[in-house]
Structures are given as C-alpha cells and as structure tokens.
Symmetry: C2
Subunit: 425 residues, 2 copies
Amino acid sequence: MAGTGSRDRALRERAQAVIPGGMYGHQSVGLLPDDYPQFFEKGEGAHLWDVDGRRYLDFMCAYGPNLFGYAHPEIDAAFVRQLGQGDTLTGPTALMVQLAEALTGMVSHADWAIFCKNGTDATSMALTVARAHTKRRVVVRAKGAYHGAAPWCTPRPAGVIDTDRAHQIFYDYNDVGSLEAAVAQAGDDLACIFAAPFKHDAFVDQAEPDPAYARRARELCDERGALLVVDEVRAGFRLSRDCSWSRIGVQPDLSTWGKCVANGHPISVLLGSDKARAAAASVYVTGSFWYQAAPMAAALETLRLVRETDYLERMTALGERLRQGLAERAAAAGFGFRQTGPATMPLFLFDDDPDLRRGFCFSSEMLARGVYVHPWHNMFLCAAMTEADIDAALDAAEDAFAALKRQAGALPPVEKLAFLTAGAH
Amino acid sequence: MAGTGSRDRALRERAQAVIPGGMYGHQSVGLLPDDYPQFFEKGEGAHLWDVDGRRYLDFMCAYGPNLFGYAHPEIDAAFVRQLGQGDTLTGPTALMVQLAEALTGMVSHADWAIFCKNGTDATSMALTVARAHTKRRVVVRAKGAYHGAAPWCTPRPAGVIDTDRAHQIFYDYNDVGSLEAAVAQAGDDLACIFAAPFKHDAFVDQAEPDPAYARRARELCDERGALLVVDEVRAGFRLSRDCSWSRIGVQPDLSTWGKCVANGHPISVLLGSDKARAAAASVYVTGSFWYQAAPMAAALETLRLVRETDYLERMTALGERLRQGLAERAAAAGFGFRQTGPATMPLFLFDDDPDLRRGFCFSSEMLARGVYVHPWHNMFLCAAMTEADIDAALDAAEDAFAALKRQAGALPPVEKLAFLTAGAH
C-alpha cells in the first residue's frame, strides 16, 4: 500500500479486524495496484475524494450507478422529499405504479416491471421466471459473462456446490455456432438464453454484439419456446434510452436493470413482455426493502433526465473524445493500447501485457495525476463530465504514458494477478 | 375491494397493467381482507396513511424495519447528511468499518460483518459460507420457517427446480428428536443448522425457543464440525440488544440481520465468529449498492438508539399491555383468542377458525377503527408507540370483538385462504 495515505492505511487495518479479508466483492481493491485507495470520503458530480483528501476524476462511477453525477441536486432532492413523506412502509406507494409505467413506456419490449434491490435479484428472478414459464431447467449463457454473485452465477465458486450450477450450458459470446451447439445440447429442456448487451467480461477485450448472433439468439428462443434475457444491469441507459439490443433490432422477453436506474439509489428491475407475465405472477419473490418509495422517486427523476436531456449524446461524444485522444497519445508514446467496448463504457488493455504490469503502472500514474481508471474492468463515463474533464484526463494520460515508457523495461511482475498467466505456460 | 377507497382502487387497476398480478411478495394484499389498502401515502412515528387519507396505528411496522418510528428525525438526518457527502461511490467509506465495529461490539458471537441489502442476501450468504467452511453440502432447517425468497428457500416454488432445493433436510422447530434425526440423515455431509430465534411461521401459533432444543442444535454443530446459523432478520433488536439466543445462553457461529438495522433504510448483515472468518473471506459476494454509505450512517444512529435508550423495555411493556388488554377483552366477548410469540412481535389467531374467517372479520373491524393488524403473520411493535396508542388499540379491539360477535354466526368462508383447509378433510 505504498502510495496510500495514512487514513486509508489506518482504516484498512481496522477493517482487517471486522470485515473478512479486509473487504469483499467488487469494491475490494485487492486486485488493484497497491496505491489505489480503499476508502472514500465524498463524491460530487464526476469527482471523488478519498479519505486522505485526494480528489479524482472518477471513470468508475461507482461501477455504474453514477450516471448523472454524484450527489445530483434534482435526483437527491426527489429522494429526500419522498423520504420525509414515506419510504419503507407496510405497503408500496403510488410511485411503484408510476415507475413501472415510466419504464414500460421507455423500454420497447417491456409490458411489466418487478422492482428489487440487487442486480443479482433481477438476473436470478429472470432465470426463475423463465423456468416457471417453460417448465424447463436449462439456462444457456456466455462463458465468462458476469450476471451477478448468487451461487448459480458468482465468478468465484467457494461455497458453491454442484447442484447450484446444474442445468447450465455455456457458449462463446458472438459465436453463432457455439450458441447453436449449446442450445442443441439443452435439447427439450431449454428455459432461456442469457446475453449481455455487449461482451463486458473482466481482463479481456470487450466486444460489441454481432447482430447475427443477437438475431440467432432470438430465433432459437422462438423456435424452442424459450425466453431471451438481456442483462442490462451494467450497461442500462449508457447505450440507449431503450433496451440496448433495440439498436440492432432484437427484442428480448426479459431484461434486467440496476446500477444507474436511480443514479446510485438502490433499486433494480426485472422487465418483461406479456408472454412472461403469467409466469412472473406465479413466482414468489420479495425483499424487506423492495417497496421503498424514496429510491423510486429518485428513479422517476433519473428517467426524466434520461428522456428529456441529451445526456447520452453528450456522454458518447465525451467517450469518443477520450478514445481518440488516448489513441493518439498511446501511439505517440509507442504503445499498443487497445480501447474496446462502447465509448461510454471503455476498457483499456496494453498489448504484450499478460499479467497487466503495464496496465497497473499506467493506472497508478493516472491515479497519481488525479484520474481514477481501472486496469482490467470496464469503466463508465457519466453525464456530469465535461470536455475540460476529458482534456484533463488526456493531459494526465500523456504524462502517464511517458512515465510508463521510462519504467516499461523494469516493471515488476504483478503477483496478485499471477492467476492470469498461471495457465499460459 | 369493497372497503377500499377510490385512489387505492384506481392504483390497483393501473398496477394490474404494469406489475405481474398487480403486486408481488409480502406486501401484496392478495391474502388479506378485501378492505385492506394496497397503497400508502405517508408514514410518521407509529402511524401510516393510505392513499385515500385514512390514518392507521400500524402494527406491521413495514413488516419489521420500522423500529423507532417512521421518518425518525435523528436517523433520517444522519442519512441525509451522509447522502449529501457521498452514498454509492466507487468504494466504501469509513462508515463501513465503524458499522462493523459497532455490530461486533454489540453482538456477542460476532467478530466480523458483511453488509448486503436483502435479508435473503444474508441468509443465502450464511449457507454459502457454511458450505465453504465445511466443504459439505447439507443444510438442516425447520419445516415451514421463512429464511427468504431465493430459489433455495422461497415458500412458493413456482420456477424453482429440483437442484435448487437439493441437500436440504427438515426438522420440526423445538423438537430435539426431529432435529437429531435430520442431523443423522445428513451424515458426514452436514454444513449447517439454520434456526429462527423463535418459531414465527405464518398461519400458525408462534413458539418461543425451547432452550433444550437450542442447546442441542449448538452441540450437534460442535460434534459434527458444522455451523449454527440464527436468522435474526425478522426479530433482530426486538428481543435483545444482542443475538436473541444469548438470552438462553446459546451462541451461533453466524447470524443474519436485516429489516430494522437502519430503521427502514436498506441494509442487511451477515455476522460471524472467527471460526468462519476464512470461509467468509473466500466466498465472492457483492451487490451494486452494498457499499452505500447513507444507510450505514442511518444504521450507526439506529444502533446508538438501541444501545442508549430504553426502547426495548418500553416496547416490551407496551406489548405486554396490549396482550393483557386483548386477552381480557377477548375473554369478555367469549372468544378463544390465542396471542403467541414475544410481546414485541405478537400473532393473533382465533380458536375454531380454520380458514381464518374470524381473524379476517376482526382484522377488518380493527382496520375500520384505524388500527392496522395482520390476520396470519406476526406483527411488530415499534418504539414510537405510546401507552395511549395501545389503549386506543384496546378500545378499537373491544368494539371489534363486539362487532365480530354480532357477525360470527354468519361469516362467509375466506375463499382466498381455502388452501389452509383444503388438505384438512
């Protein structure tokens, strides 16, 4: 933790005592460079402050939820107004109906909504609804794709048992042949096909969806009477104001949403078409806080901004400005630097960098210059970013590439990522 | 919906279009009397207002979360302060460490904490941690006990498949012989025993835990190297300021918390002892909003009130006042009226009432008099209630028993609860 400040170090020591391993889940910095801070103090707009007072332009956006800026005045005001009126009550408020109407009005395939808290709630419910609808068991899903952290899908299988993962068959994203083979293997037991809006796996290049693959997934579901699930939890409203596969003309039966639906307030959603309505009504799903009104008020305000502002066009333009600027600077410095995925959710990987030592060095150099980037997970732009922010990030990158160039020949191995290369030799 | 007002009726119609079945989960009024409102407008202290402006003394307390009163000034102020500072960020704040320290300082068996959103997150994680710790599969749990709504435990199995429920063996709560038989059947594959703090199943009398049963559960886990899990999600801090089995001298390895930890703000917790720490650090669990700071600020303030006020003694005294007053009034009216479970979480059932027609009639008569009670689920007192509230409820009950007496001979069957008696003849 060489570079981290003293408050962060002190908190990590205290956390070691009362949190298993010191931190858990996707916000653990266990697999990030040692100088990345674990604990934060404040968020405002596109910026974050760590507990040692250092300010960052934040390209992680809370791993997605921050779409319009941290502590957004209108969204948080809507939340706080509703909090004073009624939040977690003995039943829902009218906001639940209004929010379901708003979402089904925006997302083409959707006729109904079920609200929950975690993205994993929505994906797990999608699977249960598909099984109820088809009376079949098998889910066909892409190898390496993240659909949550329940035992059926968590990426690290400690504590997961054989039966938790039963009735799953995997395909390679964008590979029609492998999708067809998986579906054939499922035979007459196919309940659903899961797909991410684009390939956004960790540690590898991202990929846009091939329309032929998306269309074939739709056809196979129709031929087999199975349901197509598009998991928008990570990408929702950063590609489209609708389900993102609308852009390639493919409508799922179910889509799962979370993260940015209420700009950081906790709510996730399963949306479905009429075909799956009876099955959705038959499953028993619930949670202590699923009927909470204040996050629904925040979601209604967030969706209003999604519909009524040019946030998506601005964010996309900023992402393209970033991409082009980085490409120029990487090339000038002589690095093979791959930027993949949509402009609003980029991933950076260096060529010839199997254990990410270049990525780690570059990320640390960016961090030292006040720009928080991620060396192996897709990043997120937000609508609170400005051209000046992007230009500041590009200035930082120019210096970071130069610093990397000075160190590139002598970078130490990244021991915490040794698993990436362990099978390679 | 004879008794419901016009705004409620209109919202139900709109909900039918955009929410499967019109509503889902435990806050659906589908299995409540027809005059119960589905939608609420406001909560304040111990009272609720429905969307038609009717005010109720609320004995459901949001099904648990409302411990200190709706819209509690200090708790919500702590939340809002933190919201302005930073809530869902790219990493946690210092509050996560503080909250883990506060909980492990209060709950005797606990050495560490993992925070999540749903009660089901905590119970499912407990199972995963137990399986990781033991490298075994079987969970032994009480028949009819509610531990959440994931496929492994949801009470209504639509969409649930065979493998979701594999490796589970059931016992009868408080029955040492049946517990021993279940453990014997698990053989060398026992991962954990789950227990509720007391028997709080729906539709049947509640029961306090028999200390002999609790001690035997502990012994069996120790003999077999399995983990004991006490599921405090529903009962936490309404029986004790510690894990509730501390009162009978039994410490679990894991305990699950939710509902009232932040007085309605969304947070749940898995607490564990050192024995399970390595296993807990090995599992991959996470959620988009699990690191949210504002609910942690609310939780810290809630726990301060738990520690520093006499809320528990006051709430218990109010519950006893209610119980005694109802017993007197029921007896005077000539009804066999069973009040079971702890005074702070009562359940009412009438004798000779297999399809709950008396319970439905009594509940409706209470509702008409401004008191929201539940005919088949345990209720919850909160610390915002006063002796005057309880006395008002008792006055309502005197009238409600009289009204029930007038109607008792001619009550219609409760068709929506026909399943309760379908197997009885």
